[in-house]
C-alpha cells in the first residue's frame, strides 16, 4: 500500500476484498490474508477521511501566456 494511493482506489479495493470474501471461494488461508488486507485498507480509508489535505488553487495566466496554478486565498472571499 503506497502512500500515494487514493481514497477511492483504496475503497474500491476494499469493496473487491469484501466481495471476494463473500464469494466463499477462497481457501481459509486466502480468506484470512484478504481479511488482513481489508483491515489495512479500511484503516487507510478512515485515516484519509480524517486528514485535511484540501488544496485550493487558482490558475493565473503568466506574461508568457502560460497557465500557472497559485494558492487561492479563501479568506479574501469572506471579507
Amino acid at each position: 500500500m503506497t502512500a500515494e494511493m487514493k481514497f477511492e482506489e483504496a475503497l474500491k479495493k476494499l469493496e473487491r476484498t469484501v466481495s471476494d470474501l463473500e464469494s466463499g471461494e477462497l481457501s481459509l488461508d486466502d480468506s484470512l490474508k484478504r481479511y488482513e488486507e481489508g483491515v489495512k485498507l479500511a484503516q487507510f480509508c478512515s485515516k484519509k477521511l480524517e486528514t485535511a489535505r484540501r488544496k485550493v488553487e487558482i490558475l493565473v495566466k503568466t506574461s508568457g501566456g502560460k497557465l500557472e496554478a497559485k494558492p487561492f486565498d479563501e479568506k479574501a472571499l469572506e471579507g
Binding site: 470474501l21 463473500e22 485535511a52 485550493v56 487558482i58 490558475l59 496554478a69
Partner: protein, 419 residues
C-alpha cells in the same frame, strides 16, 4: 447632381444613370432609419458572411441586405418563414434598379431575441446529438481534483468552497477564473474547458455561475461553450443560475446541478456517507470471514465424523476378513477334491479286484501256461493256453491255482468243442 439636358423641346430628359441617381437621393434621404416588419423569405447566407433575403407580407416584397459587419451581433438564426422586425435604411441599388433595405438590426417578432436564439440553438444541437444521453460521461464518485470554471470573486465560489469544507477533504480544487457574462465570456469559458482538459490529475469540471436574467446567463447558451463541453474528455457538471434556469450548457453537460452549491454536494461525497460506507464494508468483511471460518469448521467437523477418520482400521480389518474367507473357501475346495479322488480310487481298486485273475482262481478256475521245451526249469514265463492246438503229448504245462501251481506233462491231447 445637375440635370444635364437640352431644354429646347421643353422636355426634361434624364439618362438612366441620372434619374437613378436622383431616385437614390430622394429615397435614401426619405428613409434613413426605418423599422420594417415582415416574414423572411429567400434567405441566403453568402460565404462572405453577408446575408440576403426578402421581407414579405401578403401583398409585397422588399429585398434586404444584412452585411456581415452588422449581422454578427444577431444571436438567433434568420431563416425563411421567420417573422422579424428589421431596422435599417432604404437604399436604391442602381445596378438592379431596386430599392432595398440595408438591415442594421434584426429582432424576432413576438418573442424575445434571446429566447428565440435559445430555442433555435437548442433544437439544432439536439438534432446534432450534442444532448445525447449516450455521450454523457459518468461523474467520478470521489474525484481527487476538481476544475471549477467560474468567476473568482463573488458568492458562487465562496458557496462552493464552503460546502467543500464540510465534506471529504482529501481533494484538490483548481479555479479557472473567467468572465461569466458579457462580451467575451463565452470564449473564455470554452477556452477554460479546453485548457483544463490538458491539465493533469483533474477528474471533473464544474461550470458555475449564479442566478441572473437570460441575458446574464447568455454565455452559457452560446454554441462555442456547448461544443467545448461536448468535446471535453473530462466529465462536466453545469451549475448555472438557479434551479429554474436552464441553459444550453445544462443540456450538453454530463450532469446538471440545480445550483453551484448542489454541484459541490454532488461531486464530493459527504464524510458521513463515506465513513458509513466504510463501516458497512468492514462489517461485511467480518461477517464474510466468519462465514468462511465456520464453513471450514463445518467441513472439518464433517471430516472428523467420517467413518474413515473414526474407524481408521476398518478397511484393514475388512481386507483381513476377506483374506480369511478366501482361505477357508480354498481349504474346503481342496479337501473336497481329495475325497472325490479317494472315492474314485477305491472304486477303481474294486474294479481292478474284480478283474484280477487271482479272483478268478479263487472261484476255482485255473490258468494253464504252455512252457516251451527245455525251459521248464528255468522258470521262464509261459504262454497262456486258450486252445489245445499246438500242444503235443509230452509238453510241459503249468497250471496256476489259487493256492499255488502245478507243473505237469501232457499225457493226451483231445480236441473238444465247448458249446
Amino acid at each position: 447632381m445637375p440635370s444635364v439636358n437640352p431644354v429646347e423641346t421643353g422636355r426634361l430628359i434624364y439618362s438612366v444613370t441620372q434619374i437613378t441617381r436622383e431616385i437614390k437621393v430622394v429615397l435614401e434621404s426619405a428613409f434613413p432609419q426605418v423599422w420594417v416588419e415582415g416574414e423572411v423569405s429567400n434567405f441566403k447566407l453568402h460565404s462572405s458572411g453577408h446575408m440576403y433575403f426578402a421581407l414579405k407580407d401578403a401583398e409585397s416584397v422588399l429585398n434586404c441586405a444584412f452585411f456581415r459587419g452588422s449581422n454578427q451581433g444577431v444571436k438567433f438564426q434568420i431563416k425563411d418563414g421567420l417573422k422579424v422586425l428589421c431596422f435599417g435604411r432604404i437604399g436604391f441599388y442602381n445596378k438592379t434598379g431596386q430599392a432595398q433595405l440595408y438591415v442594421e438590426k434584426a429582432e424576432p417578432k413576438g418573442v424575445g431575441e434571446l429566447q428565440l436564439a435559445f430555442e433555435q440553438l437548442k433544437e439544432r444541437l439536439q438534432k446534432e446529438g450534442l444532448f445525447d444521453q449516450a455521450h454523457k460521461r459518468p461523474i467520478p464518485m470521489l474525484p481527487s481534483k476538481i476544475g471549477i470554471v467560474t468567476s473568482p470573486t463573488g458568492a458562487v465560489i465562496r458557496d462552493i468552497l464552503h460546502i467543500l469544507r464540510r465534506r471529504f477533504n482529501d481533494i484538490g480544487i483548481l479555479i479557472y477564473p473567467v468572465k461569466v457574462q458579457g462580451e467575451g465570456a463565452a470564449g473564455q469559458i470554452s477556452e477554460a474547458i479546453n485548457d483544463l482538459n490538458r491539465i493533469k490529475d483533474i477528474d471533473v469540471l464544474i461550470l458555475a455561475r449564479g442566478g441572473g436574467s437570460l441575458e446574464d446567463l447568455w454565455a452559457f447558451n452560446e454554441e462555442i461553450v456547448a461544443r467545448a463541453i461536448y468535446d471535453s474528455d473530462l466529465p462536466v457538471i453545469s451549475a448555472v443560475g438557479h434551479e429554474i434556469d436552464y441553459t444550453i450548457a445544462d443540456f450538453v453537460a454530463d450532469l446538471r446541478a440545480p445550483t453551484p452549491s448542489a454541484a459541490a454536494e454532488i461531486v464530493i461525497a459527504r464524510k458521513e456517507d463515506l465513513s458509513g460506507k466504510l463501516d458497512s464494508l468492514i462489517k461485511d468483511m467480518r461477517s464474510f470471514l466468519d462465514n468462511a471460518v465456520s464453513l471450514y469448521e463445518n467441513r472439518l467437523a464433517g471430516i472428523l465424523e467420517s467413518r474413515a477418520f473414526k474407524y481408521p482400521l476398518e478397511m484393514i480389518e475388512r481386507y483381513e476378513q476377506e483374506i480369511d474367507d478366501l482361505c477357508r473357501r480354498g481349504d474346503s475346495h481342496f479337501s473336497h477334491s481329495v475325497e472325490i479322488r479317494m472315492e474314485k480310487l477305491n472304486s477303481l481298486i474294486g474294479k481292478l479286484d474284480a478283474l484280477s485273475p487271482l479272483a478268478v482262481l479263487k472261484r476255482g478256475y485255473s490258468i494253464t501256461l504252455h512252457i516251451p521245451r527245455g525251459k521248464v526249469l528255468s522258470g521262464a514265463k509261459g504262454k497262456t493256453l486258450r486252445d489245445v492246438k499246438g500242444i503235443k503229448t509230452g509238453d510241459i504245462i503249468e497250471t496256476r491255482l489259487a493256492g499255488g501251481r502245478l507243473t505237469s506233462e501232457v499225457k493226451q491231447v483231445a480236441k473238444e468243442e465247448i458249446e
